[in-house]
Symmetry: C2
């Protein structure tokens, strides 16, 4: 059920991304690098969360697609830059060579820059006319920019790099991940909530839901880096440990970390208790996060 | 006269940038890198063009300041990334060590990313209420994003890197610079025109003005790299030639290049002939571009 929902939306997002890029000149090397990374697949969890949150708040699901695509562009830019030699120096991502391996470092830096920029161009494209929609669109741009900037995702990435080889306690680890991966996941849900018709208490509930699944997502990522299958994952395993990365399994043990992820997902489900069946995709995504194998 | 105008606006922009950053947590390493680069001074030509274009079209000069600051953030991000070892590998900028020298490569990449992101956050900050202003703001975001993305500035930087050591003819050199530096200069002027009250024929004239001064600016930059004084410039000279960069003096000779820059500035002044005295700062900036020594 959720598998079919995810697959259908993954395809819709892929098509929409292609349409957003195809309308432009894609012969240029930078565009090739952008497309190489963004078409590599991936779970598309963030854009799907934006769509599902729009649905949960009875909004127009088809109209939110450009925002969803922009979110995926921002996520992909962050992966391209994270993978650079000066950062995590990863060579494989989603089963394909990373951008700086496939092209070169300069092209990877510029490809990431261009995806981030295109995301804002897409979000700003003013095809609405109602003043209420214009305000919403500006609020969404601001919300997402804040989430991925130097007080959000970028700061999380910085903390992650600086923490390599140093011991973090649980609070510091959670703080780092809330910024590095949690902030964009939360912004994806809240963008959907803003785009839909979320009332104030629904926004609070969705924010809490997003915080819980964002953290659960990272805990499961860490666990999969210990016990996952490289073929299914599309990337190497055991890399966190060999790099001295701070992870939840390293800090709590794999068994405890698994229980922690389950608790977080249960909290996320509780956050949605006042929502009707339109929130079922959000519920299913929360479940999927612990059950996933990649 | 223009010297005083530039100095006054440089100070106002510096103060506004500081206020935009100071309201936030600036202890973090990424924020330090952002501030290191953006506070290093520079001519602030792009934000001043946005302000002067607003003035020329009888707009609210004080209200355009956040947009002007955002433009300078984008310009600074592009310098930080251009200076990286994988790109131009420059160690000195505006008389100070470049970000990757002062901090490290990862911090410089992230600092640039964060400045680009903050620019969009600042531009989206919805303090206006009139629907007309909201539409304008979205149009400005879209206009600037398009100018600095993979069909604009980023593409120009890619062409520049790929052309090193290869011969470009004059058309190819102009095309590269129209993208690399021209696109953001044009967007700065057009953002001011949109923010002001430019009528359709004024927009066309300002676009032509911007194209002319954008190219003139680059021609003069190339000339200063041949004949300039490193102390006044705050960076090394002769570097283009030693790297086999394609430049206007190399292609046309320094004397011809100087005449070409003068022609471009004269064309820019002609573009403004139907504007009243409110466009005098734009006229003076065009003059300044050929007279500058740094």
């Amino acid at each position: 059920m959720i598998k079919r929902y995810l697959e259908a939306h993954q395809k819709a997002i892929q098509d929409a991304l292609l349409a957003l890029m195809e309308a432009r000149d894609t012969h240029a090397r930078v565009a090739q690098a952008m497309w190489h990374s963004i078409s590599a697949g991936g779970k598309r969890i963030r854009p799907i969360l934006a769509i599902a949150a729009t649905e949960a708040t009875h909004g127009d699901v088809s109209a939110v697609m450009p925002i969803a695509c922009a979110i995926e562009m921002i996520h992909t830019y962050s992966l391209i830059h994270d993978d650079l030699p000066a950062m995590d120096n990863d060579t494989l991502r989603r089963g394909k060579p990373t951008a700086h391996v496939q092209f070169d470092e300069a092209t990877a830096i510029l490809g990431g820059d261009a995806l981030l920029t295109l995301a804002f161009e897409v979000m700003a494209s003013p095809e609405d006319s109602a003043p209420e929609d214009l305000t919403k669109r500006l609020q969404i741009i601001q919300l997402i920019a804040r989430a991925v900037g130097y007080q959000g995702m970028v700061q999380g990435q910085m903390l992650d790099i600086r923490a390599e080889g140093r011991h973090l306690d649980l609070d510091a680890l959670i703080h780092m991940h809330r910024l590095k991966t949690g902030a964009l996941i939360e912004a994806s849900v809240m963008a959907g909530a803003l785009f839909g018709h979320a009332r104030q208490h629904q926004k609070q509930a969705l924010r809490s839901y997003a915080k819980n699944i964002g953290l659960a997502f990272q805990v499961v990522d860490d666990i999969l880096n210990v016990v996952g299958d490289p073929g299914t994952l599309g990337k190497a395993v055991g890399t966190d440990s060999s790099r001295g990365k701070n992870t939840f399994p390293a800090l709590m043990g794999t068994h405890e970390a698994t229980a922690y992820a389950r608790d977080l997902v249960q909290n996320a489900l509780n956050d949605l208790q006042d929502f009707d069946t339109k929130a079922d995709p959000l519920r299913a995504i929360a479940q999927y996060i612990i059950e996933r194998k990649h």
